[in-house]
Subunit: 414 residues, 2 copies
C-alpha cells in the first residue's frame, strides 16, 4: 500500500506554523510497513485542494488529509473530499452527538458552529476525536482510501494512535513490517560514540543503525525489516545487545524516554529522594523532573537561587566563598549542593552555577561555563563543563547533563 | 509570481526530521509579496522527484528545491533539474573552487567527493554557500525559475537571506509587499476575544485579522498588502490601534514576545524584584523567566516546593492549614505566596498549587484544578482555575496564566 499526506491550511504556506504532523504520520506509517512516497501542503483554497487530492489519489492507494475540519467557512476538507469522490454531504447524528457531548463537558455555550461539524461525505466512517469537537473521517471507494484528521497536533496524534493505525493494520493484513527502536545517550559526543561502535555501523543493511544528534544527546536508531513484528523485534534485540556491550551505562534509555524518566525511575527503585539547587539552569531541571508523573514521590524541594543573596540565605552558601571564588565556581556549586541536601533532607542533590549568556558575567568567565555539583550523605563532587549555543541551549544542555550525572550516581549507589 | 517548494529527502517522509525549512522559506516569500500555493516532499527517488518538479513547474513560475545537493549518489537534485530542463551537466570551476576553499579552511582531507559537487546543469548560476561545501543553483528557462538550496537549515537560511531574497526582489521589481504583525493575548479565550472584536473582523480584506489559538493564549495576526513596507506598516498600525481600543491590557505583547518577556520588562521598568513559589507548575515559571536575558536583575529566588514538608519548612506554610484545607487550596496558595515574599525580600510574588495529573490527588480534586496566589507588600489575592489537557499542557497553561496575573498586577502598581 502506497500512501501520501495532503495538508490543508494557509498557515502552513505562510510559515506561521512548523508542520510536525507529517513527520509524526510518516513515523507511524513506517512502523506498520506502509510506504509514504509524497507529501504536500496547499492553502484553504477549494480549487487547489481538490486538484491536489485528485493527483494524490492517482498516485497512491491511501491519502491522509490533515486540517480543514473545523467549523468555519475556511474549513473545506469535507467539501473537497465529497467532490473528489463524487458523493453528496449528509448530516451525521454521530458527529453531532460527539461535538455536543464535548461542548457539554467543557461547559461551552456556543453551539452555532455545530451544523458544519456534522456535515460529512455520504458513506464516510466517523473517527472519534477524544480531544476536540471535530471528528475524523474515513472514505473509501474502489480500493482508494482517504482518511481526514484535524490539523491540531494533539488531536491528530491521538486519533492516529487510537483509530487510524489499528484500521490500517487490519487493512494491510499480516504483511511486511518495519520496526525501529531508539537508544538514547547523554554525555559522550557523536564522534566518540561512532568510534566506539564503528565495527557495528559498517556492513549492516538489515537492521540498520543510524546515529542522530539532538540538543545535548545522541540517539542511535535501529531499524529492521521483517515479515512480522515479532521477527523484527528479535532482530533489533540482537543489535541492541551488541550496542549495549560497547556503550554500557552510557545508554540511559530507549524510545521516547527522556533523561528525567530514567532518573525518576532509578530514584523510585532505590526509594531515594532528590533535591535540586539551580542557578544557571533557572528551574529547568525541576521543570523536567516534574514532567514525569509520580515525580512527587521522589522530588521534595527545588530552589532556583538566582541572586547571591538567595544562595547565601536559603542555601547557606558562605558569603566569604561567594566573595573569594565568585558565584561561578566549584566551591559555590559544592556549597549549593550541600545546602539543598541539608535543607530538604533528601538522599541526593544536584546543583548548577554558570554563565548562560548572552553576556559574560562580571568575572569575564566564558559564556557556557557551568559547574555541576552533586552531594549525598557520604560524599560530594563537582564537574566543570563548557557548553555551547544560545542562552536556551546552554540551559538545556546543562540541565540534561546534570540529570545524567545524577543518573550515573544512582547506578553506582543502591 | 507564484511559487512552490519541493523538498527532496527520504528522511522527511520517514519522519526522522521535522521540516522547518519550508516554514522559513514561506515567511521570506510572503515578506516580498510572492504567493506560495503548494509545497511537497518526495524521497531520494529520481523518478518521483522528476515527476514532482515537472508538476510544480506546470503550476508555478518559481520552484524552490531543497535537499539533494550533497556529494553522495543519493543526492539527485542536480540530475533531476538537468533532466526536467533538458540540459546536460557540466563541470563548474566556481563550484569546485568554493568547495575546495571551505575544505582547506576546515582542514579536511577527503576530496574524493568534490567531483559530484562541481557538476551543475548547463547555464546554472551558482549561489554561494557561506556555511557548507554544496553551492546552490539558479536555473531559468522560458520564464520558469528553479532555485536549488541545501537541506541543512543553517545553510539554506543563510543563502535564502543573502542571495535568494535579493535575487527575487530584483526579479519582481519594486512590487507588492505583504507584512504582518501578531498581537498576543493571555487570559480571555478565543470565543470571548472574537466577540469583542467582531465588528473589526468582518468586512476587512486588507489588512486582514486572523485569530490563532495556541496553548494558553490567543494571537491576532494582522496582515497587510501594500506597494511598500512603509505603507503596509502604516495600515497595520491603524488596525492595531483599533484592536487595542477593544482589548486594552489583555494584549500583553507583539511578535515573538512571550508572556515572560513582558513580565521581565515591566519589573525592570518599575525597578521591582519578584519571587516564585511553585507546586503544580514544578519550576516551569522559573524556567520561563530565566529564559529572558537580564532576568537576574528582577528574579532573586524561586522555590519548587513539591512536598508538603518543603511547603511547611521552607515557605512557612502552617502545618494546620495543610491538614485543614489540603495542599490544593486557596489558603495554601496564599500562604505560599506570602512565605516566598518574606523569604526572598522581593516586591511581589506568585505561587501555584494544583493537580497536574495524570491521576487525581488524594482529595479527589479534578485534574487541572489550580490555585494561583499573588502577594505584595500591601496585599494578597488568589485565583481559582480549571485547566484542561495533559500533565504538560496543564503545567504550561498554569505557568502562563500565573505570569499574566503578575503582569496585570504590575500594570496596576507602579
Amino acid at each position: 500500500m502506497i500512501a501520501e499526506i495532503l495538508m490543508i491550511g494557509t498557515e502552513l504556506l505562510l510559515g506561521h506554523v512548523v508542520d510536525t504532523n507529517s513527520a509524526y504520520i510518516g513515523r507511524k506509517l513506517a512502523g506498520i510497513g506502509i510506504n509514504l512516497y509524497h507529501k504536500a501542503a496547499v492553502g484553504d483554497n477549494r480549487l487547489r485542494a481538490t486538484a491536489a487530492l485528485r493527483e494524490a489519489l492517482n498516485r497512491a492507494d491511501l491519502v491522509i488529509v490533515t486540517g480543514g475540519l473545523g467549523p468555519t467557512e475556511d474549513d473545506i476538507t469535507r467539501e473537497v473530499v465529497s467532490e473528489v469522490f463524487g458523493v453528496r454531504q449528509i448530516h451525521s447524528d454521530e458527529a453531532m452527538a460527539h461535538a455536543l457531548s464535548l461542548l457539554n463537558r467543557w461547559g461551552h455555550q456556543d453551539r452555532a458552529s455545530l451544523r458544519r461539524l456534522a456535515q460529512v461525505p455520504d458513506g464516510a466512517t466517523i473517527i472519534p476525536n477524544p480531544r476536540g469537537t471535530a471528528c475524523g473521517l474515513i472514505v473509501e471507494k474502489m480500493g482508494k482510501h482517504v482518511i481526514c484528521l484535524p490539523g491540531v497536533p494533539g488531536e491528530m496524534e491521538a486519533m492516529m494512535d487510537l483509530s487510524v493505525i489499528p484500521y490500517l493494520t487490519r487493512l494491510e493484513g499480516e504483511g511486511r513490517t518495519i520496526s525501529s527502536r531508539t537508544l538514547r545517550i547523554c554525555g559522550p559526543g557523536e564522534a566518540e560514540i561512532e568510534d566506539r561502535i564503528r565495527h557495528l555501523l559498517h556492513g549492516k543493511s538489515n537492521p540498520t543503525i543510524a546515529p542522530l544528534v539532538s540538543l545535548g544527546e545522541v540517539m542511535l536508531r535501529i531499524t529492521a525489516k521483517a515479515s512480522s513484528p515479532g521477527e523484527a523485534g528479535a532482530m533489533i534485540d540482537r543489535v541492541e545487545t551488541e550496542l549495549r556491550e560497547c556503550l554500557g551505562h552510557d545508554i540511559y534509555g530507549t524510545g521516547d524516554d527522556e533523561i528525567q524518566h530514567s532518573v525518576v525511575r532509578l530514584l523510585k527503585e532505590r526509594n531515594f529522594t532528590c533535591a535540586v539547587a539551580e542557578s544557571v539552569t533557572g528551574g529547568l531541571i525541576s521543570h523536567k523532573l516534574t514532567e514525569v508523573p509520580g515525580c512527587s514521590r521522589v522530588l521534595g524541594l527545588a530552589v532556583t537561587s538566582y541572586s547571591n543573596n538567595a544562595k547565601i540565605k536559603v542555601l547557606d552558601v558562605p558569603c566569604a566563598d561567594v566573595e573569594r571564588y565568585g558565584v561561578v565556581s566549584r566551591e559555590v556549586a559544592l556549597r549549593m549542593a550541600r545546602g539543598i541536601l541539608s535543607l530538604s533532607g533528601a538522599d541526593v542533590s544536584i546543583s548548577t552555577t554558570g554563565v548562560a549568556g548572552p553576556a559574560r558575567d562580571e568575572h569575564m568567565h566564558s559564556i557556557g561555563l557551568v559547574f555541576i555539583g552533586l552531594a549525598w550523605k557520604h560524599g560530594i563532587t563537582c564537574g566543570r563543563f563548557q557548553f555551547f549555543g544560545t542562552r536556551s541551549e546552554i540551559k538545556e544542555r546543562a540541565a540534561k547533563r546534570s540529570l545524567d550525572i545524577l543518573r550515573r550516581h544512582l547506578l553506582r549507589h543502591h
